[in-house]
Symmetry: C2
Subunit: 116 residues, 2 copies
DNA sequence: CCAAGACATAGACACATGTAAATATTTACA
DNA sequence: TGTAAATATTTACATGTGTCTATGTCTTGG
């Protein structure tokens, strides 16, 4: 439904935590974004993709980086994608995920932004 | 046990996500910090405390800001405190929580830090 | 010392989450 | 067309999480 915001969009529309209290709605919008990052496997996935050459990585590479089943990695990638942290592009048989830098920037600004 | 790192300390010792892949150990250290923030109530608690005059707030004020039971708020505050995001100080009958700015800064740098 | 108020802890319960096995889907190529 | 490879989806299950009620622990005032 097009009128709903992705978590990433939600994070873009608030003052930093230390500036003013978050509204209930804003907090409920942002929490899923942090939840998406708040898992060791997904943190590593994000860092692998984001730091990879070209800012993107193939699922085949990602699977190899963990001792987890392929469906589990796929599951985590889906969560990061739906949160708006990873873009997804299919090229041939392979799927490439790309880190959305803007998303990370917005989130960082929300968390670390100065009070004034 | 003094040799264990709080999540906050863990976040301080890594390059930004976009610079290089997080080690498994690092990811496992940092995830709890994000988990602590990844809840609407705790996000609002952090923002209320961090944006409050003096950077601190009394539990009595925090309870009033939510329609949740007092033990529930106490539970959330404990999680934020144990993650290293809030400092706790008892003054008389009241308990004051104070935002650890350094913690938020480190986390923001980890998430939003530039690749190079 | 006792009662009341502020806050924390314990226990219980519904619900969410991470994982794997099995299966489906899509694509390329012989 | 049919087979193999890459990725996603479904289902199931053990574990984790948010919340409440009941109760405990401090601290202060009387």
């Amino acid at each position: 439904m097009s009128w709903e915001l992705t978590p990433v969009q939600a994070a873009a529309c608030c003052s930093p935590l230390a500036r003013e209290p978050l509204s209930e709605t804003a907090a409920e919008g942002i929490a899923p974004l942090l939840k998406a990052l708040a898992d060791p496997v997904r943190l590593r996935l994000m860092s692998i993709v984001a730091s990879h050459q070209g800012g993107e990585a193939c699922v085949c590479d990602l699977n190899d980086a963990f001792e987890l089943s392929q469906p589990t990695i796929s599951h985590h990638l889906k969560i990061l994608h739906e949160a708006g942290l990873l873009d997804r592009e299919k090229r041939g048989v392979w799927v490439y995920y790309r880190a959305r830098n803007e998303a990370l920037q917005n989130l960082a600004a929300l968390i670390g932004g100065q009070a004034r």
